[in-house]
Symmetry: C2
Subunit: 343 residues, 2 copies
DNA sequence: GTTAGCACTCGACGTTTTCGACTGCTAATT
DNA sequence: AATTAGCAGTCGAAAACGTCGAGTGCTAAC
């Protein structure tokens, strides 16, 4: 016979599960019926009273059942939830990803879309950080009279570009030489190692080209700098609305917050992975007004050569199936890491 | 004194404008008050009865005012609406764009975000088509043991990449030579000219490299092919929700339709520019279930060297400020064309 | 620590009523 | 023929009202 305390947790779990499932406050009677707790509703009521006092559940109004509070979800996530293993179909879907790994960007998009589908929620993924990447190759291509394109290839396979306006017309070969010089001198340099040695670079070409070299080298710096600002790819925003009109009118502000990538980036950045390789923020824990009714589940994925990995995750209503979501996110992160490190 | 028919159009205009503004069905009395039609409500009622018979307006229920039908909006757009010139602030905002023109992709994103802000609606932009672009340069860079990155630079400044797995290990220099060969042979070739002369290409390198050349050339073909599938960048989805809970519960399906880029692409493709350089689809005209209550305003922009331009536009509720939206879209298209052709 | 019993609360929901915004029609007017 | 005033009639929105029942907390007994 389980002691009082463990049963209370059982009750909390039951409440969370029922509420996630039915979207309605759950009462003592329904509870004993659906789960086979072998006690009477009255007993459950006592437990519920206690849980309420502990701030784990709350009643929307007097004559209604209880719903979990953010704290309740938190406890649930930390101590009670069971990770639901992926279904066969879900595994398969992921494996198809590996075959799409031709274009870096495209693969991230695929990944995030898949994650959105699997979880039926909004999925986000952070671009891998430049920081750990090394410069592999630099190219300068003439586009117009005084327009050129500076192209930077990183060891992660990411390609960055920037258009520059040259101070003076230049020949195609000259640009190419400049590219070669840059490639040589910066090869294998970490992308986060700034500033780049401008003087050395400039004096490495004959005087006539120095002005052009300066412009190009500046562009390189600029690319490397902007690479630190990470970006987010998102998918499945429609799921926000489809979630049963559940988030109701709050959906507008949520969408805004999501479009405002900065907010989300800061949040993801703050989130520390726990020993399970996951991090979860629930409701107010997001410390963001418009995300009060949402929860974020995230995990780090390794972007090739280790380095501080970027994150991926999902955003959904606090009332979500944490078990399923957490396992999907974790599996996705692992799988992606594997693909990336193979490539 | 205007004749009966012109007044009827005036009435239609007044109804559209009021309805757009107030979001409420508008009645005869309110109409004469707010606009200075110098007749009595009764007269207006007669006109309204006629307009209703013509299918231009409808009454949601007996004791309510009238709202425009899709047909009503259509007439309004075609014949009555006045293009509202941009404000100074809006012009300025656009001019800032020009300064961001460093990265092709980034600029498109900026553009679409700006358009979303200006119109307070969802903005979309199609990637410029490859078709008119010419191949400027091709690069092959070694990434891993047997992994290489094929990079294609087009005359529009767009950069495409693809990762390939080599059949056998290759040296960095060899890959570079392959890149050079490809660059030489395909230089200035239109990106839409397929297939590329594989045989010539392959036989242009020494036998030991032929297998690798084949792999790389295939990747090039693949890039060129996928370039025909155009993509869409979107911004301002939050505006859908913010529009006063106006589209109500329909917002879910709309978001879905938007995420499903194919639908939108087909639609944009079908839309023919009128003499004003704009095309508008209203309600059912979109011939798409979930877009029944939305309208699409689009314009073509020239992507550098003429060629069939891609489109940009906005998606919003049928009840939108067509005047403002149309002018914003048109101005944006023109401005973007200018920037692109300059660069 | 459990449980049955019970009085009590309060929102959800269906019904009824009131209110007023509009309309369409008719008949008079220009 | 077009316009207008006047008026009866319609019908939805909002408020007021009552009923119902799910769910609670408490007490007293086990």
């Amino acid at each position: 016979m389980p002691d009082t305390n463990t049963r209370r947790l059982q009750v909390l779990r039951a409440i969370v599960e029922d509420y996630v499932h039915t979207r309605e406050p759950v009462g003592s009677k329904a509870l004993v019926e659906r789960h086979n707790l072998e006690v009477s509703p009255a007993t459950i009521r006592n437990d519920m009273a206690q849980l309420e006092e502990d701030g784990l559940i709350a009643a929307p109004h007097t004559s209604a059942g209880r719903i979990p509070t953010d704290l309740g979800y938190r406890l649930f996530v930390d101590r009670i939830s069971e990770v639901r293993p992926l279904t066969r179909a879900e595994r398969r879907a992921m494996e198809i990803l590996a075959e799409t790994s031709d274009d870096h960007e495209a693969m991230l998009e695929q990944t995030v879309r898949l994650l959105a589908m699997l979880t039926n929620q909004v999925a986000v993924i952070q671009h891998p950080q430049h920081s750990s990447a090394k410069i592999r190759h630099i190219d300068v291509v003439l586009l117009g009279a005084q327009k050129a394109l500076v192209i930077l290839i990183l060891s992660t396979g990411k390609v960055e570009q920037r258009m520059v306006t040259l101070a003076e017309p230049a020949a195609e070969e000259d640009l190419h030489r400049i590219g070669q010089k840059l490639s040589e001198q910066l090869h294998n340099r970490s992308a986060s190692a700034l500033p780049i040695p401008m003087d050395t670079l400039i004096s490495s070409v004959e005087p006539a080209l120095r002005a052009t070299m300066a412009v190009v080298a500046n562009a390189v710096t600029s690319i490397l700098e902007s690479g630190r600002v990470d970006r987010i790819i998102m998918a499945g925003t429609a799921n926000l609305a489809r979630s049963g009109g559940d988030l109701g009118p709050a959906i507008g502000p949520i969408l805004e917050a999501l479009e405002e990538q900065v907010v989300l980036l800061r949040l993801l950045h703050e989130m520390q992975q726990d020993q399970r390789g996951l991090s979860v923020r629930i409701g107010q824990e997001t410390s963001h007004e418009s995300l009060q009714e949402t929860a974020v589940v995230a995990a780090e994925y390794a972007s090739g050569e280790s380095g501080r990995g970027a994150k991926l995750g999902v955003v959904g209503p606090t009332r979500m199936d944490y078990g399923a979501t957490m396992s999907a996110v974790r599996a996705m992160a692992r799988y992606l890491s594997r693909i990336l490190s193979e490539g």
